[in-house]
Symmetry: C2
Subunit: 234 residues, 2 copies
């Protein structure tokens, strides 16, 4: 089942592309379907393709030699990933991309985008815009990890998740769907600590926790904690 090229305009880097360019991209792409838990690519693989997620959800992560991993970000529909290999020839992926649910993605040759960029300034420019965003986010998370206590980091991670993929319920609560382990990898801690913090927050009526699911009842309070208001815990 082929993709409508015009759909590609939903990808931020392609927002300014002409219809013809979009068609070119789809013509130079392959559709890949990946099952939950399987991988698009591994850290260290040759970065021949970059991807646009068409459906499903995935995560970008990095692991150290001991196998411990950290989540860099989650990828939602119409987001691009694996694009760091585009600028250098023969680059390798600096991270691993794993499907969180059954997903399909468009795989486009990195070489092709690199060539297109030579004659289409809007492409480099929009890709750069995306990259500056990543740099800023990573710098912030780095500082957070270096200087803030876990509770604040967890609060912040939940807020980031909420803005990326939270769904609002009728009464203003925000529903999130992830495991304790996921949240731990996103905030640089362990699933045990996440569990304890969530339990405490639940006691205070701040959230409601369930299996692979958290309901934020008082987002406002969460923001306060993430910004360093004294914790309710203790």
């Amino acid at each position: 089942m082929a993709i409508d090229p015009l759909q590609l305009r939903r990808v931020s880097v392609f927002q300014n592309a002409t219809d013809d360019d979009l068609k070119l991209f789809t013509q130079n792409s392959v559709e890949r379907s990946i099952e939950e838990g399987e991988f698009f690519f591994f850290q260290g693989d040759s970065a021949v393709y970059f991807y646009v997620l068409i459906s499903g959800r995935a995560k970008l992560m990095q692991m150290n030699s001991a196998g411990q991993q950290v989540n860099l970000r989650t990828i939602n529909e119409w987001q691009m990933f694996g694009a760091l290999g585009v600028v250098r020839e023969n680059a390798t992926y600096p991270a691993t991309a794993q499907a969180l649910e059954h997903s399909t993605a468009l795989a486009i040759k990195s070489d092709f985008l690199r060539e297109m960029m030579q004659t289409r300034p809007y492409l480099s420019f929009d890709l750069m815009k995306l990259m500056t965003g990543y740099i800023q986010e990573m710098q912030e998370r780095y500082r957070e990890l270096a200087t803030e206590k876990v509770e604040r980091r967890i609060a912040h991670a939940m807020l980031r998740l909420a803005s990326q993929m939270g769904t609002k319920t009728i009464n203003g609560d925000i529903e999130l769907s992830f495991t304790r382990q996921d949240l731990a990898e996103m905030s640089g801690t362990t699933l045990y600590t996440v569990s304890r913090v969530l339990s405490e927050w639940e006691k205070q009526g701040l959230v409601e926790a369930g299996r692979e699911r958290v309901l934020i009842r008082r987002p406002h309070e969460l923001v306060r904690i993430s910004e360093g208001g004294e914790s309710i815990i203790g």
Copy 2:
């Protein structure tokens, strides 16, 4: 005292620029001289200019609301900094830049570079190359901070420093110049811990430590530690 425009080609982003372009950049720039400890700009300032360091040394850092700070990177001669504001109009700097010694820099209007990029693909392309490098480094450091113990992080930070600004002595040692505090901010720990680790390494004959100065005697060993070989300490 004006800069020779052709010198600008030493800046990685300008390596493919024409002589005329280089002249244009210098014509649209102002030279700024900053004393040791003073600031080029603060996090949150409007990013009107980006900079090219002509002489001296500076550091990019981020601080949290409590005033604790982390070092993002050090800036050496002919490196560009403050360039994240180039792609978006009316952006603000996401970090603070402070001179480590008396420094001079060329301040170029962000607007100007943005306009130049519209018609000169090599500019966006080379800037992107730089940015992908930053993203990768930040991702790595983030993972390191989240998963590795201090000793390894300190080892890694020293190796990064060594490659950026270390000077080799006759007998293959590497000389570095920084305070314990600097190194602590670069590896997400405290100056006390850095001091202890260095003392221990010194006992093992791995380094020689002095005031604002470290001599790496066995770089090889340091690499081993940073890569997770069991520590000598203990």
